[in-house]
């Protein structure tokens, strides 16, 4: 049972794909989140409306539906775009991995933009005024004043989001990416031992979320080291 009918390695491979998925989505999620938060706090009404409607739409739709929509719909969209450009019939296949990454980045980015918006608003206004008074451009204010502190304010929220992200990668198994859940399903089907395989898959996920929790707790402590305690 320990070597899982000789499929232990496959489960580990699946674990590797899950880690890859999480780490690939993470930067996109952060960038989309920062853009979304900036749009929501923008001076321009149009940007605010775009930012708000993005989160309002995404947060009300199940992740699974977004994944399915991008997987099935994305292929058609890219294909017709390619046909429009090249002018001839083309066949495009978006790898399931990348359509999964796109879907998760879109979903998690919406939640991240809420986290970053709250974090940006907790930066004291006086500091921004001081920076502007020193003659910094808005870009410099962002890079020098906002971003370094954003990190500290946003970490607890990001901790939560990363937990959700790890768990949401399991949904991509539905479109056939061979991460943990998919490998477990294959093993469960061929070896007729679903209980064992899914138990192993769950333990793997539990260890991932636990490690992520510990890492983020450490980062939170580290980010707060320069802050006087009340």
């Amino acid at each position: 049972m320990l070597d899982l009918y000789g499929r232990g390695w496959q489960m580990l491979e699946g674990g590797l794909v899950t880690v890859q998925l999480c780490l690939t989505v993470l930067p996109f999620m952060i960038v989309i989140g920062l853009l979304g938060a900036s749009a929501k706090l923008s001076r321009y009404r149009t940007l605010r409306v775009i930012g708000e409607s993005y989160t309002v739409l995404i947060r009300g739709i199940p992740e699974l539906l977004v994944i399915l929509l991008i997987y099935f719909g994305g292929t058609i969209a890219v294909q017709s775009l390619a046909e429009l450009i090249s002018g001839e019939e083309t066949r495009v296949d978006i790898p399931a991995f990348w359509s999964g990454v796109a879907a998760l980045a879109l979903v998690q980015g919406a939640f991240a933009s809420e986290v970053f918006r709250a974090a940006m608003q907790s930066i004291p206004l006086g500091q921004i005024e001081a920076a502007t008074a020193c003659g910094m451009t808005p870009m410099q204010v962002f890079m020098r004043i906002k971003l370094p502190q954003l990190w500290r304010f946003a970490l607890p929220g990001l901790n939560n989001l990363f937990q959700v992200l790890i768990k949401d990668t399991a949904l991509i198994s539905v479109v056939g990416v061979e991460e943990i859940m998919r490998k477990a399903a294959i093993g469960a089907g061929t070896e007729k031992a679903p209980f064992t395989f899914y138990l192993v898959a769950m333990l793997m996920f539990l260890s991932f979320t636990t490690v992520s929790l510990l890492v983020f707790n450490y980062l939170e402590k580290r980010a707060a080291r320069g802050v006087a305690r009340a």
Partner: protein, 247 residues
Amino acid sequence: MFEDFIYVLGKYDTWLWRGFLLTIELLVISVTLGTLLAIPLAVARVSKKVWIQALPFAFIYVFRGTPLIGQLFMMYYGVGQLVAEIDGIQDHWTWTYLRDPYWYCLLTFVLNTAAYVAEIMRGGIQNVPNGELEAARACGMSPWITYRRIIFPRMWQMIWPAYTNDVIFTLKATSLASTVTMMELTGAARKIVARTALPYEAFISAGVIYLIIVYTLTFGFKGIERYLRRSEVRKEPKSGKPKAASA
């Protein structure tokens, strides 16, 4: 483009409607039973005795630390297989129910919701101001009466926004039932796509229905929040300033 939407909505409206009803059914049952189960879990979780809080802690930790789709597969395929291997179970009258994905879905969603809600409730219970508990004890209230009159009303007030989020989370979670052949809203949309090869039309229609449910829920829960916080309504300052000054 719109012809396809009209085609999908016109031809498969009964599928979407039945999917909608099943989604609502799963949501209402999961949230109701899950919340009822969460209350004893949360109370046990805040206990000072290690042996009382250990079990709810483990339960909450496992259910919040693993993906719901895994829990569902574990339940439906894993437990389902163990049940199917019991001698003679397949001739027993309960077998019709024991192989129906509906019950496995419900059980998973109830347990999952219970774990998330219990964690929120724990935070709420622990944040009840200590002075109120001391006052209750000074008035001679037993722990049970303190819970009923002080802690629970306070807890609901505090956790309501988070609870609203969790109900929406559960709504979105019900879409996973489609992975074990249930025909709720997402399942219906997937079946339409399989039949018509029109992914945008089917999935976007389902998405719009989800959005309508979410924002109806949010609206309703906001109303209940106002009711829960009715005791905190701030008195309008009776200064002589004209009201138009704020505009």
